[in-house]
C-alpha cells in the first residue's frame, strides 16, 4: 500500500483517527479552518456520509439487520463511493483532503467484530494510504467520560451491542471501545500514525497538529488560483519551501 504522495498525486490526504470522544473531530475542524483561512484548497470528508449508501446503512442500523460481515461491507461501500467520486478526483486536482476517520476505523471496528483482518484489509486495498495520519490517543476512561457524561442514548451498533459483550449498553460500550483501542495501538507503528496526546488541552494539541502539517507538507503548493486575501496567507506564500518526504 502506498500513500498519495508515493503515487504521485498532486493532492495530499490527512486523516484523523481515534476513539469516540477523543476530540479528533474538534482537532480536524480547527485544522481545516486554519488551512481555509490561508486560502488553501481544502476538502473535508466524514466517515459514513455517502448520500447514496446512507438510506441502506440507516435502515440496517435502525432495524438491527447488520451482521459483522454486512456491517463491514456496507461501510466499505460507503467509503468506496466517497473515495471514487470525491477523494480521488479532488486529490488529482491538487486538494488537501481532510478525513475524519479513514480505513483504520474499519480495520479496528470490523476486526473487533470478528471479521478476519486479511479479509478486511483486502477489501480496502483499493484505497491509498493517507500522507499523514494523526491518532488521538486518549485514556480510555477520558474518552468514555466525554461520551457517557451526558448519559446519551447509545445506539445499538455504536455500543457494540451486536457483540453481546454485556446487556448493559454502557458496559458494552466500555468493553467495545477498549478493544478498538487495542486494535488502534497495534496498527500505530505499521501505518506510521502520528500519535497526539489527546489528554492535553485543545490548543496544545492543535499547535502540535499545525506544526506537523506545516513541517511535513509544502502548504504553498495548495493555494487557490486567486491572489491571497489575508496577510497570513501572503506570508506563507513567500515562505514556500521544498516539501519533505513523508515517512
Amino acid at each position: 500500500m502506498k500513500t498519495f504522495a508515493e503515487l504521485n498525486f498532486p493532492g495530499r490526504l490527512i486523516a484523523v483517527e481515534g476513539l469516540d470522544g477523543s476530540g479528533k473531530s474538534t482537532q480536524i475542524y480547527l485544522l481545516k479552518r486554519w488551512l481555509e483561512l490561508q486560502d488553501l484548497k481544502v476538502y473535508f470528508s466524514e466517515w459514513n456520509s455517502s448520500e447514496l449508501v446512507k438510506s441502506a446503512t440507516s435502515k440496517g442500523k435502525k432495524r438491527e439487520l447488520l451482521t459483522p460481515t454486512t456491517f463491514s461491507l456496507i461501510h466499505a461501500t460507503d467509503f468506496a463511493d466517497r473515495y471514487e467520486r470525491h477523494l480521488v478526483p479532488l486529490l488529482r486536482a491538487g486538494y488537501l483532503v481532510l478525513c475524519d476517520r479513514y480505513i483504520f476505523t474499519a480495520f479496528g471496528r470490523d476486526v473487533t467484530r470478528g471479521c478476519p483482518p486479511e479479509w478486511v484489509r483486502g477489501i480496502y486495498s483499493f484505497a491509498a494510504l493517507p500522507d499523514l495520519t494523526f491518532f488521538f490517543k486518549s485514556d480510555l476512561e477520558v474518552s468514555l467520560k466525554r461520551i457517557l457524561e451526558g448519559r446519551p442514548q447509545l445506539k445499538y451498533f455504536e455500543a457494540g451491542m451486536d457483540l453481546r459483550l454485556s446487556t448493559d449498553p454502557y458496559e458494552s460500550f466500555r468493553i467495545f471501545q477498549g478493544r478498538i483501542l487495542e486494535q488502534y495501538l497495534a496498527m500505530s507503528t505499521e501505518f506510521n500514525f502520528v500519535v497526539v496526546d489527546a489528554n492535553q488541552l485543545v490548543e496544545k494539541q492543535q499547535a502540535v497538529v499545525r506544526e506537523l502539517v506545516a513541517h511535513r507538507l509544502d502548504l504553498a503548493r495548495f493555494y487557490r488560483a486567486e491572489p491571497p486575501r489575508t496577510p497570513a496567507s501572503a506570508d506563507l506564500r513567500k515562505k514556500a519551501k521544498v516539501e519533505e518526504p513523508v515517512r
Binding site: S55, C115, W119
Partner: protein, 243 residues
C-alpha cells in the same frame, strides 16, 4: 409425480462443506445439512424456467426449497436498484454494494435454510458478480478475497447459450435489449446490438476462466427446456445421493 405417489423420498447424504475463503465468522459448517444448488447463465439462458421446474420436482420428491437471487436482500435491494437506474455509482462502489446484497442473503436466508435442511436454489451466485466486474477490469485477486465469504455450493450449473441465441430470446420476450445486459456502461459500441454481442461474448470468456477455479457444470442451454431439465435432475439426484 411418480416418485411422490410411490412415496420414495431420498434422504440426502451430508456434503463436505467449506467456504471459498475466510467465510462468515462464527458459522459451524457441520450444522449445514441442506443442499445449495446454483444456476448461472446470462439473461435469456433459461435460468428462471429451470429453477421453476426444479422447485416443482424437488417438492414432489419431498424436499423443502428456498429460492434466492441477486438484488433480493432486505438490506440493500431497493437502494441497489435505484443506484443502478441512475448509473451513478463507480465500479468499486457498485461491486461492494452487490457484495453487501449477497452477504445479507447468505447470512439471513441461505445459511439458516441450509441449517434447517432445506434445498436452496440460487438464481445466480457470486460468479455472475465476479464475471461482471472482471469484464469491467477489476482485479481478480481482490474479488476472490471479497467473495471468500461465500459457501461452496454442492453443484453449480452454467447454462451456456450463444450470444446470437440470447439476442433472439431477448427480442422474443421484450422486443428490446437491457442496458446492463448489453454492457452499455462499458462503451464497447454505441450500437446496442453490437455492444450486446461483444459484452455477452466477453462474459462467456470470463465464465470459462472462472470455471477453471470454481468447477461449474456447463450445460448446453441451446436445447429445449425439458431436455435441459432432465439433465439437471440427473445431476442433482447424484448430488443428493452423495455421489
Amino acid at each position: 409425480m411418480k416418485n411422490a405417489i410411490k412415496n420414495q423420498i431420498v434422504v440426502p447424504r451430508r456434503s463436505a462443506r467449506r467456504f471459498y475463503g475466510h467465510g462468515i465468522p462464527g458459522v459451524d459448517l457441520e450444522q449445514l445439512a441442506g443442499k445449495l444448488i446454483v444456476v448461472e447463465g446470462a439473461d435469456g439462458s433459461g435460468r428462471s424456467t429451470q429453477i421453476k421446474l426444479l422447485v416443482e420436482w424437488m417438492e414432489g420428491t419431498g424436499h423443502a426449497t428456498v429460492q434466492v437471487g441477486l438484488k433480493r436482500s432486505t438490506l440493500v435491494s431497493e437502494e441497489l436498484v435505484q443506484a443502478q437506474q441512475g448509473n451513478i455509482l463507480s465500479r468499486t462502489t457498485l461491486s461492494l454494494f452487490y457484495a453487501t446484497d449477497f452477504a445479507d442473503q447468505l447470512e439471513n436466508i441461505i445459511l439458516p435454510a441450509l441449517k434447517a435442511g432445506f434445498v436452496v436454489l440460487a438464481d445466480r451466485y457470486i460468479y455472475t458478480l465476479m464475471a461482471r466486474d472482471m469484464v469491467r477490469g477489476m482485479d481478480e485477486a481482490w474479488l476472490k478475497n471479497l467473495y471468500g465469504i461465500a459457501l461452496e455450493p454442492d453443484v453449480v450449473f452454467y447454462l451456456n447459450v450463444l450470444p446470437e441465441e440470447l439476442v433472439q430470446r431477448s427480442f422474443a420476450k421484450n422486443a428490446s435489449l437491457d442496458y446492463w445486459e448489453s454492457g452499455m456502461d462499458l462503451g464497447l459500441s454505441r450500437d446496442m446490438f453490437d455492444s450486446f454481442m461483444k459484452y455477452q461474448t466477453a462474459m462467456q470468456t470470463t465464465f470459462r476462466r472462472l470455471q477453471a477455479s470454481y468447477g461449474f457444470t456447463i450445460v448446453d442451454g441451446m436445447r429445449p427446456g425439458n431436455v435441459v431439465n432432465t439433465e439437471l435432475r440427473k445431476k442433482i439426484s447424484a448430488v443428493m445421493a452423495g455421489k
